[in-house]
Subunit: 153 residues, 2 copies
DNA sequence: AGAAGTTAGTTGAATGTTAAACGAGGCCCT
DNA sequence: AGGGCCTCGTTTAACATTCAACTAACTTCT
């Protein structure tokens, strides 16, 4: 039965502030991108990762990993992005199972415009409202979290 | 055209660590609750808020606010919870438009069991892998974020 | 009182996500 | 070569979420 170690009051307060804030922050980002650029946050994330990759393309599995999405979800989302003309999929020369997702010029253009607004929102609701030291702490903390989760598997 | 203030390298790193970590953390929590207790994370959140309310009940709008969900979403989710027998809805004496969501005894029992596992997961992947000072920083930071978002409207 | 405007909550349709199953190709071993 | 096993990406159907429309009830103003 084994009683768990419950969080103390301060830990609980901090954890909840995070849970709450992160949900609301997500909503804001999503709403903002959708209304101004017709992109959902996950779609935006995909475009970002592609834009940073060499030749602006990535294998589906890599892209899924970078964008923290399931493969299935990525597959669906890419289909949508493809039908909007922001991404094209092509086959992979050395591995015939493989598929490259490639950011189109239009995709890049949309992303460039979206990123301008996005960074303003990130500042307005996150970076510029918190202490720089706290931002660094967040960076450290979530880097540990990501590492911990990666180890799990 | 008004060039935005882009994030510097450190800010970008920290922001991304957070985005990445929070997505993955959510997935872990959700998967864990689902597999062990048949609850999604949003469902769990609803039960928690109800359990803490006086008489274990809240008006739909308050509950939506506490659980950071849209009213529509809450309505659907509550229907599901109701059909599982974890929640019942009843009418509100003074405001006839109003509806109370009320945690059932079974809902409370399910929550109690789920919470034990949940806190372990929260510790294993979050609280116990980060520095206590960083946790405090997270608390401060996201409290500001929530406040900032609340002011927006 | 009663018209106009607000707020509470739900609904249904469109959209997005998840979970499981699948086909196709690669890899390794004998 | 070919059997067994793994990975790649997609597909389908079930499920959850969003968005806009809606009813009912409260409020305000005259």
């Amino acid at each position: 039965m084994d009683e768990p170690r419950w969080l103390d009051a301060a830990q609980q307060r901090d954890w909840r502030a995070y849970v709450d804030g992160s949900i609301r922050l997500n909503e804001i980002m999503d709403r903002d991108l959708k209304s101004k650029h017709g992109l959902s946050l996950p779609e935006y994330e995909i475009l970002v990762r592609l834009s940073e990759a060499p030749e602006r393309r990535l294998r589906m599995a890599e892209l899924a990993e970078h964008a923290s999405q399931s493969r299935s979800r990525l597959s669906h989302t890419c289909s949508r992005l493809e039908s909007k003309g922001l991404v094209v999929r092509g086959s992979c020369p050395n591995d015939k199972r493989g598929v490259y997702a490639h950011l189109t010029d239009e995709g890049f253009a949309v992303l460039e415009r979206a990123a301008r607004d996005h960074v303003r929102t990130v500042r307005a609701f996150f970076v510029d409202v918190i202490d720089p030291d706290d931002l660094a702490a967040i960076g450290r903390a979530f880097t540990s979290v990501v590492k911990r989760i990666a180890e799990e598997n």
